[in-house]
């Protein structure tokens, strides 16, 4: 069945998304990136990254920023402005429209945009393995009828039926799920690669109305990069007296480094730019090494950030809405990852902006949601419930061992094999827990039962399979089955998902708060369990070895067993681990002796040997598969 996609046809980059399993998803291009540069070589019909690589060789033949010309008349003042800096030739076409002339051929902006859309369509078809024949395409809120019509035509030229042209801020609001919340006024702050837009929307009965929109069509992330590059060039000149701006290779490397630094400084406070062998002075190589702090790039780009707030003020004024009455502010465009921009937005609107959606993808995701709504995909989706918290059982030492992780879609079931913790243990206690904490005592107990009648055996041998099964109504069935006898016992728990939202949030919050200390405690218990298990093995080996092991080795092992036991009483995790390691090393000597004796034996009775080693291999495997269960005396 042919699919419908959502396309964010941008000035610098375009993004395509599709509804999959009820959720919007961005499709990566053939080049493996989530965005397609809106750059076209119309003669060769090359689009995106590949076209962009030729910008320098063919400045008059490779077209970028064509969105700025969409649906414009040649005499438009805007066109006059753009003509000044766009390197390609802009001419008057039919009906006074803008055309682009490359060598002897003229193209309409619609045709160029169609090539971008066609690439988006083909990448989507590649990904989906299916035809794509319909699309929802986004445009800026300020686009007039003729610009919208031109965008629609571009879609048609690309072989797409354009189901709807929607406003970029509306798409963003959809991606943020704001149509479902009971909100009235929304501000969309969209700071992209080449343009800045601010829009105030009013939502009512599922209808989005643009109350006001403003922007700066020549303000974007590229300007930030430029500021950083200029600073780096200046610094280098000050230190070394060489102007890197005159060296295209060095400049290229600085450009890449500046962009990387900008991205890194959104998450860290400082970064270092390292460019070895950037240039040569008097036959000696020079390196570029510079620490750059977040505060520094904030001061470098101060005026750019400030520039975006003039339109914001005007937009608020135009909308006649008091900033107090704006219910939500959402962030769109890569630049909104910059912490300083987020702070300023917060200051201007007096509330924390919502940044829960990837800002590069929001517009395309929203377009895909709109496409899904029109195609009927969205309402057809069966929304599966998920388990809000992790479900598990208590294991040795009071550790909570998860079986079904939180956010798993239900119905589902999961089994795991556990074992006993003591020799001749004939019953196990199955304690069912709910929650994210590492220790049983911190989680909620949902119930417990005992499986009896396990045949006496050394610890670790019996295999008890525990199965958790949750049905679509959230009813949890827990069964424990002894694999040797087939005996089983089960319990039904009805309230496993019946927590209210506050309880769930509290439990999640607790888990996050205590994550570190819980983990430490869990590690200590695990170290103890490991030590305990090794003591058991050591004692057993000593018994098995009998007189075959030399006395001094036996005494050494006995002493080390005692050391481990002592440390188990009150030792730290590290101490227990060291002692365990010592014991393990000592124990190996007994093993070596046993092997040596075995090898000698093998020499005498060769035929018998292979059979035996096979067996020991098998039993080792079994031990690996089982985990220790909670002990009940």
């Amino acid at each position: 069945m042919p699919k419908t996609v959502g396309i964010d046809l941008g000035t610098t980059n375009s993004v395509v998304a599709v509804m999959e399993g009820g959720r919007p998803k961005v499709i990566s291009s053939k080049e493996g990136r989530n965005t397609i540069p809106s750059v076209v070589d119309p003669e060769k019909r090359i689009v995106g990254d590949i076209a962009k690589r030729q910008l320098i060789v063919k400045p008059q033949e490779v077209i970028f920023s064509v969105k700025r010309l969409m649906g414009r008349k040649y005499d438009d003042t805007v066109v006059d402005q753009e003509k000044k800096w766009l390197p390609y030739e802009i001419v008057k076409g039919k009906n006074d429209r803008v055309n682009i002339k490359i060598n002897d051929k003229t193209y309409t902006p619609e045709e160029i945009s169609a090539m971008i859309l066609k690439k988006a369509k083909e990448d989507a078809e590649d990904y989906l393995g299916d035809k794509v024949d319909k699309a929802v395409i986004t445009v800026p809120a300020y686009f007039d009828d003729s610009q919208r019509e031109a965008t629609k035509q571009a879609g048609e030229i690309a072989g797409l039926e354009v189901l709807r042209i929607i406003n970029e801020p509306t798409a963003s609001a959809l991606a943020y799920g704001l149509d479902k919340k009971n909100l009235h006024n929304i501000a969309v702050y969209d700071f992209g690669g080449g343009t800045f837009d601010i829009t105030i929307l009013e939502i009512g009965e599922g209808v989005f109305e643009v109350k006001a929109t403003r922007g700066d069509t020549h303000l974007g992330g590229d300007d930030f990069d430029q500021k950083i590059i200029e600073f780096l060039v200046d610094e280098f000149k000050k230190e070394n007296g060489i102007d890197l701006a005159k060296d295209p290779q060095a400049l290229q490397r600085l450009k890449e480094a500046a962009e990387k630094a900008k991205v890194e400084l959104s998450t860290s406070l400082e970064t270092e730019i390292n460019l070895p062998f950037i240039t040569v002075k008097d036959g000696n190589p020079l390196h570029f090494v510079k620490k750059l702090s977040r505060a520094k790039i904030e001061s470098l780009t101060e005026d750019l950030i400030k520039r975006s707030f003039d339109p914001v003020e005007e937009c608020i004024k135009d909308s006649k809405i008091d900033p107090k009455d704006i219910d939500e502010v959402i962030l769109v465009g890569g630049m909104t990852r910059m912490p300083r921009i987020r702070d300023e937005v917060k200051k201007h609107f007096g509330k924390e902006p919502n940044k829960s959606v990837n800002p590069d993808e929001a517009v395309a995701l929203g377009a895909a949601i709109q496409a899904g709504i029109i195609a009927g995909d969205v309402k057809d989706v069966v929304l599966l419930d998920v388990t809000p918290l992790t479900l598990g059982v208590e294991t040795l030492g009071g550790v909570s061992t998860p079986l079904i992780e939180r956010n798993t879609a239900i119905p589902t079931s999961k089994s795991e094999v556990f074992s006993t913790a003591a020799d001749n243990q004939t019953q196990v206690d199955i304690h069912i827990l709910q929650g994210e904490r590492s220790l049983a005592k911190d989680n909620k107990s949902l119930g417990r039962f005992i499986l009896e009648g396990i045949p006496p055996a050394p610890r670790g041998m019996p295999q008890v399979e525990v199965t958790f099964d949750i049905d679509a109504n959230g009813i949890l069935d827990v069964t424990a089955k002894d694999k040797a006898t087939g005996k089983s016992q089960s319990i039904k728990i009805t309230g496993s998902t019946g927590l209210n939202k506050d309880e769930i949030e509290k439990m999640k919050g607790d888990a996050e708060k205590h994550a570190e200390s819980d983990q430490q405690e869990k590690e200590r218990i695990e170290a103890r369990n490991k030590a305990d298990s090794l003591v058991y093995t050591a004692e057993k080996s000593l018994k098995d070895a009998g007189d075959k092991a030399p006395k001094d080795i036996k005494e050494d092992v006995e002493k080390k067993i005692k050391d481990v036991k002592d440390s188990l009483e009150k030792g730290s995790k590290e101490e227990i681990e060291t002692k365990t390691k010592d014991l393990s090393d000592a124990l190996q000597k007994i093993g070596e002796i046993a092997y040596r004796q075995q090898a000698e034996k093998e020499k005498s009775e060769k035929s018998d040997a292979s059979d035996k080693s096979d067996k020991s291999e098998k039993s080792k495997k079994n031990e690996k598969d089982v985990e220790e269960g909670e002990v009940v005396e």
Partner: protein, 150 residues
Amino acid sequence: MTAKRKDDTHKLQLELEDARHKHLRALADYQNLEKRISQLTNEARSTTQRDLLVRFLDIADHLEKAEMFIQDKGLKMIKEDFFRIFNELGVKEMDLVGKIYDPYLAEAVEVIQGDEDSVVKEVVKKGYMIGDKVLRPAHVKVTKKIDINN
């Protein structure tokens, strides 16, 4: 009575049909997802390897640059080690100089005057292939016949 029963049966049949349809759809969705996951896992693996290789290529570039200034046997060995590993992983350097410029393989970073149009005159950053795919496009200087200052 019979009419009502008929009606009920019909309703149940419709429900059953609908349930069956949904069930099949869910199964199909699941199978498709499984296929997609295995495909994505493979892609993710090769993408991770490629990303990692590209980052190391930058270091290899630096080693080559260093060699121009520092003649040291140890340095040479490290560089050779790097390239031996690249080679083992199927990474091959592109051979571009003197050929017609191809944007699929290289980014043009400078235009220089030449006897012909669109010929790669110099490689400023080496390009590499892995198998038949571009691992890292080269950066090249490309010729233009007319005087560029004109």
